[in-house]
């Protein structure tokens, strides 16, 4: 039997490369989303604290990443048997880029710090709900879109 991919250094290297790109994109998206908060704070100065502490960057990457991974894995599954090329796409883009783009540790850390040191439990609840419900809905949306694209592709063949 062939060696499992996670014990093959070429696949591990591919995941590392994808993870580096995904993490860089996560940091950049996070930085850009802070620009969105400037007009929000200007419009609602009374809620400035809540707006500034809200982890908008992490929410954005996690919901986008859940959509993209739902789409990618469903699209690959619908193509049939996993070829070497499809495995490289699944591991490089899925496990690497999208795995590194999204994060759970920042979600947990921000939730913990909103709950305890900052004492903003309602912001924590809102953040968690938007992440979990939004992420699940986005993932289902990605799966549904891939199914639709696949049906169109089969019909036109």
């Amino acid at each position: 039997m062939a060696r499992a991919p996670h014990r093959d250094w070429r696949y591990v290297g591919l995941v590392a490369l994808g993870g580096a790109c995904g993490s860089l994109a996560r940091v950049l998206v996070g930085a850009w989303t802070t620009y969105l908060t400037v007009p929000l704070v200007a419009a609602f100065p009374a809620a400035a604290d809540a707006i500034l502490w809200f982890p908008l960057g992490t929410l954005t990457v996690n919901v986008l990443g859940a959509f993209a991974l739902g789409y990618l894995l469903e699209a690959l599954a619908r193509r049939g048997r996993e070829t070497v090329r499809r495995r490289k796409i699944r591991l490089g883009i899925g496990t690497g880029v999208l795995g590194g783009f999204t994060t759970y540790s920042a979600l947990a850390l921000d939730t913990q710090s909103l709950l305890f040191p900052h004492g903003m439990p309602w912001i924590a609840v809102l953040y968690v709900l938007l992440t979990l419900v939004g992420g699940t809905a986005a993932c289902l949306g990605g799966v549904a879109l891939a199914a639709r694209v696949d049906r169109t592709r089969r019909r036109n063949r």
């Binding site: 993870g19 995904g22 950049l28 996690n62 690497g96 795995g99 540790s105 986005a138 993932c139």
Partner: protein
């Protein structure tokens, strides 16, 4: 307003790459040992990574006590938190795994994965901060 020097970005990328590779290996090893329907690999990765981000969140303060320059201490702390822990843990895979459990009719396992991971990771962060603070206080 936002200050992201190239060196910081390089450290975040390297940390993220190492974290993602570590996730792939750890998840693969757990997966090959545990052939049930439940995605234990991702749960273990996310809970461990959350403990580590809590631990590392106290690191700069400890390093500063050990006479490490402030900017170096901050770079080390954020490279480990944003890069390594960020790349190691994953929300997208966890969400896809919950959706797959739900689609296969195991709704209770899907909900258990979604809510259980959240609660376990938040507790792990608190534990990490506690351990990091306790270790840091040894250098006072």
């Amino acid at each position: 307003m936002i200050h992201l020097p190239a060196l910081d970005l390089l450290f975040f990328a390297v940390g993220g790459g190492l974290g993602a590779a570590a996730r792939f290996v750890v998840d693969g090893e757990i997966r090959s040992r545990h052939r049930g329907g439940f995605p234990w690999g991702t749960v273990v990765v996310n809970v461990t990574g959350s403990f580590l981000i809590g631990l590392f969140s106290t690191l700069a303060a400890t390093l500063t006590r050990l006479a490490v320059a402030d900017d170096v201490a901050a770079l080390v702390q954020y490279s480990l938190m944003v890069g390594l822990c960020g790349g190691f843990t994953t929300f997208s895979t966890s969400t896809v795994e919950s959706v797959r459990l739900a689609q296969s009719g195991r709704l209770h396992l899907a909900l258990g994965n979604t809510l259980g991971t959240l609660v376990a990771t938040v507790v792990a962060v608190a534990l990490g901060i506690g351990v990091g603070t306790a270790v840091g206080s040894l250098f006072l």
